[in-house]
């Protein structure tokens, strides 16, 4: 956010920009975009997309513009509770975001409009579903013109999905490195040779990359002359992209983490006790938002989200996040957002002036942090001293539900089996001392039938 309140991520498109005033997010629509905005409304497309849950609703506001000289209208979009980025999404989240973009484009074309961009960052998960948040993404469709956002769609969606599906799920992280999506020549080099046998990938990645290489920096006016793209061909392109995207698949492997729901380190009695204590802590602290760190497939996140609390379930494992998201989708859950996050290297501030994409911590704080069966991974698995862990939790939220896993626990024994135990402070008193520097202890319960303890802390 700049000093004028203008969002640091909102500068590329001269159609308008986002700004914050008195804690509320607004969007200024500039004069140059006003006719297109009017067409969006008058064509009925806005109503159709909002009613279908594809586009974020907004209302016009009679407040002074942020930049009056170029302003035409101020709108207030419905707030999205948490902004997430494509490199934090599971495979199916990125795939659903891609299909939402194409669905919106098909509906727009039927009403004489077209998407002028296809950025994955314009899609957010709002109440469990992918929604377009950029009201200014539409332009009048011009017969004969190709899709101006074709390259962006392929870089932001198709290339990472193909790499995740056909090469390795971890290649989704290339989106964190390349802010305008995965370069197609890089995708073509990284994909296995047999990906060429898929007609959609052959066309939209390999031939597309070859065409980019062939015409890089070229004056194409003579090639364009006399050629056009009929509306039928345009619709054919969108349909072909949709079929290509929807036929790519990836299924979570049977990793230890994704099977956690069935194979955890508790007796049924202890597991039930843990559930009950977490529920009691939530009832006592009554948070308005929850971040569950190391949430796995969201078993304990749902104790919060089922109480109507907007909850983010962060996990490092793409399989766990995928399983979690599929459950959200299947059950139509609206309060739970599963996201991929490596807490030892969380999403940084990125892009122009470090202001286009916010760091994970800057998107907080939340009301309550849950860290269940987590701290041994950070303190022992990543050598983070307990005082620094306490400071991290204090940055993130007002309340903390934390589970202490002692060295005598079988999971910790496995972690220490192959290395020297340099963690002399890693015991319950050490943890309590570290947390007490920031928090007051509200409750502590030993989980019966286990070696573990659950704490509720409140920040001073």
């Amino acid at each position: 956010m700049t000093s004028s309140g203008r969002s640091g991520a909102s500068f590329r498109d001269p159609s308008g920009f986002l700004f914050v005033r008195d804690g509320t997010l607004y969007r200024q629509i500039n004069q140059s975009y006003r006719p297109a905005y009017d067409q969006l409304i008058e064509s009925g497309l806005f109503t159709e997309l909002v009613q279908g849950g594809w586009l974020i609703p907004h209302e016009p506001m009679g407040i002074p513009p942020a930049e009056p000289a170029i302003a035409s209208l101020i709108i207030r979009p419905e707030p999205v509770s948490f902004i997430s980025y494509p490199y934090e999404w599971s495979y199916s989240q990125l795939q659903d975001a891609a299909l939402a973009t194409l669905e919106i484009q098909q509906r727009a074309l039927k009403r004489g409009l077209s998407l002028k961009d296809a950025s994955a960052y314009n899609i957010q998960f709002h109440r469990g579903r992918p929604v377009l948040i950029d009201t200014l993404s539409f332009e009048p469709y011009r017969e004969g013109e190709p899709w101006v956002a074709y390259r962006q769609f392929c870089q932001h969606f198709l290339a990472p999905l193909a790499l995740m599906s056909r090469r390795d799920i971890r290649l989704g992280q290339l989106l964190r490195l390349h802010i305008d999506g995965v370069p197609l020549d890089l995708a073509a080099r990284l994909l296995p040779w047999r990906a060429r046998l898929n007609p959609g990938l052959l066309t939209h990645i390999y031939l597309h990359a070859a065409s980019q290489h062939r015409y890089a920096g070229a004056d194409i006016r003579s090639e364009r002359r006399g050629r056009g793209m009929s509306k039928n061909a345009f619709l054919g392109l969108i349909d072909n992209l949709r079929r290509t995207v929807s036929r790519l698949t990836w299924s979570p492997g049977r990793t230890d983490w994704a099977e956690y729901g069935q194979m955890h380190n508790y007796t049924p009695f202890a597991y039930e006790a843990k559930h009950r204590i977490v529920g009691d802590f939530l009832d006592r602290s009554r948070p308005r938002s929850v971040w569950d760190l190391g949430a796995n497939v969201g078993e304990f996140s749902r104790i919060a989200s089922d109480r109507g609390v907007p909850t983010i379930a962060f996990d490092i494992d793409p399989s766990a996040v995928e399983v979690n998201y599929r459950q959200v989708r299947r059950a139509g859950e609206t309060n739970l957002l599963p996201l991929l996050m490596d807490l030892t290297n969380p999403s940084p501030a990125q892009g122009w002036q470090h202001a286009e994409r916010e760091a994970m911590v800057s998107r907080g704080p939340t009301d309550l942090v849950m860290a269940l069966a987590l701290i041994h991974h950070l303190a022992i698995g990543n050598n983070v001293p307990l005082p620094q862990l306490a400071s991290f939790f204090a940055d993130l939220g007002q309340w903390l539900i934390l589970e202490f896993v002692p060295k005598s626990d079988s999971q910790v024994k496995i972690m220490l089996a192959s290395r020297e135990d340099i963690f002399s402070d890693y015991h319950q008193q050490g943890l309590e001392r570290a947390l007490a520097a920031f928090f007051d202890l509200r409750e502590a319960h030993k989980i019966q039938d286990s070696e573990r303890t659950l704490y509720l802390w409140e920040k001073r």
Binding site: A36, D38, P146, V148, Y150, H208, R214, R227, S246
Partner: protein
Amino acid sequence: MAAWVVFLLGRAAAPPAYLDPGSGSYLIQLVLAGALGALLAIRMSWGRIKGMFRRGEPAEDEQPEKHDE
């Protein structure tokens, strides 16, 4: 009449194009245009032919393929 209004609006209302479509990305669409249009036409005709023989059954699933559900 409505189409004419849309056409006029379309001509008058083009906002500034801020995204560079890229020369290669632009041209490959022109090259593929004929094939993509034809492919869609064939698929739609085929859908209609199939529909004639499957009257009463739901249309072909247009939703993303679900893998686990």
